[in-house]
Structures are given as C-alpha cells and as structure tokens.
C-alpha cells in the first residue's frame, strides 16, 4: 500500500462498511429486545463513523482512486472491521456481542498494522500507525469491558420461531 490515496480509499471503505454492519446488527438485535447488545453495536457504529469522518478529513483535497468492491487489498475476503458475517445470533448476550465486536476491531487493527509495517511510503506508514493506535484503544476498551462482563449463557427465546409464509 504505497500511496496515500490508495490507503485512504481503503480506510474509508473499511470504516464505512463497519458502520453499516454494526448498525444492521443493532437493528436486528433490537427486535430481540437485546438492549445491551444493540446499544453496544450502535456505539461501535458511532465510533466507526467518527473514524470515517477523520479519514475523510485527511482525504480532503486528494483524489482517491475508485476501487471496485473486490479490488481492495484486504487480508481476508471482506472489510476487515466487519464482524464476521453470520456470527450474530438472536440468543447472544452482551459477552458474545463484545467478542464479536472485538473480532471486528482486531481485524481493523491487523490491517492497519500490516500497512504500517509494509508500506514503502513513509507518510502512509505513519498514518497507518496513527490508526493502529486508535484501533488499539478500541480493542483495549472492548477487552476491558469483556473482562467485566461474564458469559451468562445463550438467552434463548423460549417461544418457537414464527411461520410467516
């Protein structure tokens, strides 16, 4: 990742995807009356948006490349901060939600760290380092909270799912 434009394009995509993803999970779990879980995801979405605004600020004046959705050089298949698709669950408790969020933040951290390490462009590496620091903060916050949140086991809805068709 050797140009500032390219890097910022990645950062933008990463943060935006993650904001949408967290919001979607928050919505879904609200239906399930999982207030805590939903609030957590909402908050994570908020952080992603803050971060997004920051990236946008940095990108001001630059003309970023328009990458196709599959041209991003992510370590995995998907936006690295997105909580792994399909791991949300209606029965998840706050503990589970924290783990999910943590995986997302760790993904972002790993991505930024790899850029910081591998980029030949000093400015890019420096900015990536800044982002690493920020993500590390999130990770630490989540870890801290996770440690204080016991795993109370899945909160199964005793009612069966609905046949709606």
């Amino acid at each position: 990742m050797n140009s500032m434009e390219l890097f910022l394009a990645h950062a933008l995509r990463l943060e935006e995807d993650s904001a949408i993803n967290y919001d979607e999970m928050a919505d879904a779990l609200e239906v399930h009356h999982k207030g805590e879980v939903s609030r957590l995801f909402r908050k994570m979405a908020h952080y992603s948006r803050l971060h997004l605004a920051e990236v946008e600020r940095r990108a001001a004046g630059l003309s970023l490349p328009r990458l196709k959705a599959w041209e991003y050089q992510w370590p995995g298949d998907d936006s690295p901060e997105n909580a792994p698709a399909g791991e949300a669950d209606y029965a998840m408790n706050e503990h589970d939600a924290l783990i999910l969020a943590l995986k997302g933040e760790q993904g972002a951290l790993a991505f930024y760290a790899s850029v910081a390490e591998a980029s030949s462009d000093a400015a890019v590496a420096a900015l990536a380092k800044e982002f690493v620091a920020e993500e590390s903060e999130h990770v630490a916050l989540l870890e801290e909270r996770l440690a204080k949140t016991p795993d109370t086991g899945p909160e199964h809805d005793p009612d069966p799912p609905v046949a709606a068709g």
Partner: protein, 278 residues
C-alpha cells in the same frame, strides 16, 4: 487500480431502504443484501433503472430492503415476473432473487425455462437448504436424511437437487456458486452477472441460522473450486461431476443468443384493421 475515477454519486448505502429486515440476526441473507447494494453502487446504476423481483420466503423479502424498484411477488413465480418485466422494458436492469424452495421446488419449471430462454437478467438464489419462512421444512437442496422437520420425520428421502447442473443442462449462459460469508467475492459475481448479456444464475449458499444452525460451519468448507471459468458448456458440466457442492466461483460463462421477441416495427392500429375489410 491506477485510474482516478470521479467520486461516485451513490454509495452502497444509498441502495438500502429504511425498512428493517424481518430476518433473524446472523441470517446469511444480510450479506447478500449487502453484496447487491455494493454491486449496484459499483455499476453506478440509477436507482430508478433497476428492479429487484422476488417470490415468497425469508430471502424473497429482499426487494423492500433495497431502494430501487422492487416486486415481492408470489411463491415460485419470481422468474416469470422478472422475465415479463425485462421483455417489456429491456432498458431496466432486472435482478431476480429468492430462496431454494421458491426457485427449485414450486418454481422449478420456470427456472429450467428461464435458463433456456436466456433473457438478460440475473437470478440470485439464496440457498439455505431449507424453507425458512414456513418453519424449517426440507427444500429440494436438503440432504435426503435430514430429520429435523416434523413434516418429514424420517428425512425427505430424496437426493438433493443440483442447481448448477440443472442450470447447465437447461441452458443458462452464466453459472456461479457463491457464499454469503464472502461478500466481496459475491459482489464481484453480481457485477459480472449483471454485465453478462444473458441469463445469469448465482447459487449463493446462505446459512439459515435458525433452522440449519450447522450451516454456520460452512465457512470452513467452502473453497475456490471454480476459480477458473469454463467457456465451454460441456467442459463446465464435466467439472461438476467431481464437485463437492462447496466449490465457489464462476463455473461457466458464454455469450449465447438471448431470447428476443419478434422483430418490431411501428405501424398504427388502423393499419391492422385493413385486414378485416372485405
């Protein structure tokens, strides 16, 4: 990569509506929705020129969650609706989406004949190997010995339907398997499918976490078995012969004649009346 393109007008997010999905948290269909919106953004299609047509089922709820034109039709009839629309309005980009029950059970005949007709549209089946919306009965893609449905307590007892194989045998000109857990790949496939001038079929393995919770584990089973694309139908079919059902990729692609209505002209109705005059 190197080209600097102007900032796109619409982001993926703009292709989402504000309607909350009825889906369970973790349902694979969220990712399919996400990939569709990303693909539309990628192609910079004007919202008013795109239509998503579906049948009935959890997956078929998808049109209302997009901000383009949509049609949540009736069970099993998504493809005829979509084909009618595309034939009447060739200028509209038509996506058709639904479930394995909708598409392969009640809608199986339309599936075969849509593959034959090769009309330029993209058909995305969210295959969760179950009827989600009606509480978990076996679908055509369910294993013969799956015993979780009260309707078939001994299992459906019938070998699973092979969507890709049938699609190829019936004449589809662009045949893909994807996984909802790989959104970026899926996005790419959808873009290619929309660009393909003919009938594109995408089987998306999309876990139903409520009735097939074991599907969550599929992310470790899928693999890039179809990473290379055949342009020869027979070759593609040969490759299916040793498919484990979890190979992902564009299996087959070939530009073939698409069904076109008769050549048109523009006479007036009054001209037609002359044939009745004695």
């Amino acid at each position: 990569m190197n080209e600097v393109t102007p900032t796109p007008e619409l982001e993926a997010f703009d292709y989402k509506s504000d309607v909350n999905p009825v889906w369970c948290p973790g349902c694979g269909d969220y990712a399919v929705l996400s990939a569709i919106t990303k693909a539309l953004a990628e192609l910079r299609l004007a919202r008013e020129n795109v239509a998503v047509i579906s049948g009935i089922g959890c997956s078929s709820r998808i049109p209302a969650y997009t901000s383009v034109y949509g049609f949540h039709g009736i069970h099993g009839r998504a493809l005829p609706i979509a084909q009618g629309l595309k034939l009447a309005r060739p200028d509209v980009t038509v996506l058709c989406a639904g479930g394995d029950g909708d598409g392969f059970s009640i809608g199986g005949n339309h599936f075969m004949h849509a593959c034959r007709r090769n009309i330029d549209l993209t058909y995305i089946v969210m295959d969760n190997t179950v009827y989600g919306m009606t509480k978990g009965q076996a679908s055509p893609t369910t294993e013969a010995d799956w015993r979780e449905s009260k309707l078939t307590p001994e299992g459906p007892g019938v070998p699973p339907f092979q969507p890709l194989d049938i699609a190829l045998a019936a004449g589809a000109s662009h045949v893909v398997r994807a996984f909802s857990g790989r959104v970026q790949m899926l996005t790419k496939y959808i873009v290619e499918a929309i660009q393909h001038p003919g009938f594109s079929f995408i089987q998306v393995i999309s876990p139903c976490v409520t009735y097939r919770p074991e599907m969550r584990a599929l992310k470790t089973r899928v693999h890039d078995g179809f990473a290379e694309t055949s342009t020869n139908r027979l070759e593609a079919r040969r490759r299916l012969l040793d498919d484990d059902g979890y190979s992902l990729g564009v299996l087959f692609k070939s530009v073939e004649p698409s069904y076109k209505p008769c050549a048109t002209s523009d006479e007036a109705v009054a001209d037609l009346e002359r044939q009745f005059v004695l």
